[in-house]
């Protein structure tokens, strides 16, 4: 288990920057894959703000995760354009295939809802491990997940 020593170095790199907390959180999440709760204290000390303020920023942004994710991150759009092109049926299939509801995590997968990737012209959209896939039908999702998942 990491003793979070690296977290102190990361925080040191941002603490002098005005508004550096957000950048720091990104760096922490890039390094650990999520924002461990143990690091909230380190950030509060580094930026000389309260733990509540750090927690407030973390909890405001859905993309900051406070628990480790599955090995693969699947994000499926639930916004209007994708819904009009069948994302509800697609989501049902994904839920069945992964055995997870939206927002749930297993050892292998994390399944998240997203409200618009900005790729509405090519709906419905699914992102697998950072790569956006347009016009995903329920039938080709299974093929995609075999190709995209390590």
């Amino acid at each position: 288990m990491d003793d979070f020593r690296q977290a102190t170095n990361i925080v040191d790199g941002f603490k002098k920057i005005p508004g550096g907390l957000l950048e720091c959180l990104h760096a922490i999440q890039d390094f650990y894959g999520y924002v461990p709760k143990e690091i909230v204290d380190i950030m509060a000390d580094g930026f000389n703000i309260s733990r509540a303020e750090v927690h407030g920023v973390i909890s405001y942004y859905h993309d900051f995760k406070t628990l480790p994710l599955g090995r693969n991150l699947v994000r499926v759009c639930q916004a209007e354009a994708c819904q009009s092109m069948g994302s509800r049926e697609l989501t049902s299939r994904i839920v069945d295939l992964l055995g997870l509801d939206l927002g749930e995590t297993s050892e292998e997968y994390t399944l998240d809802a997203v409200y618009c990737f900005g790729n509405c012209a090519l709906s419905p959209n699914v992102e697998i491990n950072g790569k956006l896939h347009p016009r995903v039908s329920p039938d080709n999702f299974e093929k995609l997940i075999k190709e995209g998942v390590l």
Binding site: F117, G118, N119, A121, L122, N125, L132, H133, P134
Partner: protein, 94 residues
Amino acid sequence: MINVYVPRDTASISMGADEVAASISELSTEINVIRNGTWGMTYLEPLVEVETDNGRVAYGPVSVADISSLYAAGFLDGGDHPLFRGLTSEISAD
């Protein structure tokens, strides 16, 4: 050098523009691939443009599988091809 434009907006990348750009770069050292924004004609993305003496001509939607036939058709000189769309500025929606 021949300037070839390949968009790098979300829609184009999701349709494989990064792979298309890499594939075009490998054709010749005389090609200068420029990544630009989209014209908004998402149905044609990735829309590859070539700067010719007559202006910018467009091909789309281009996939990696099309690159060899585009090259054979002389797309670097604005050659004809099933994906040829003419001058970009004259593309109409019909």
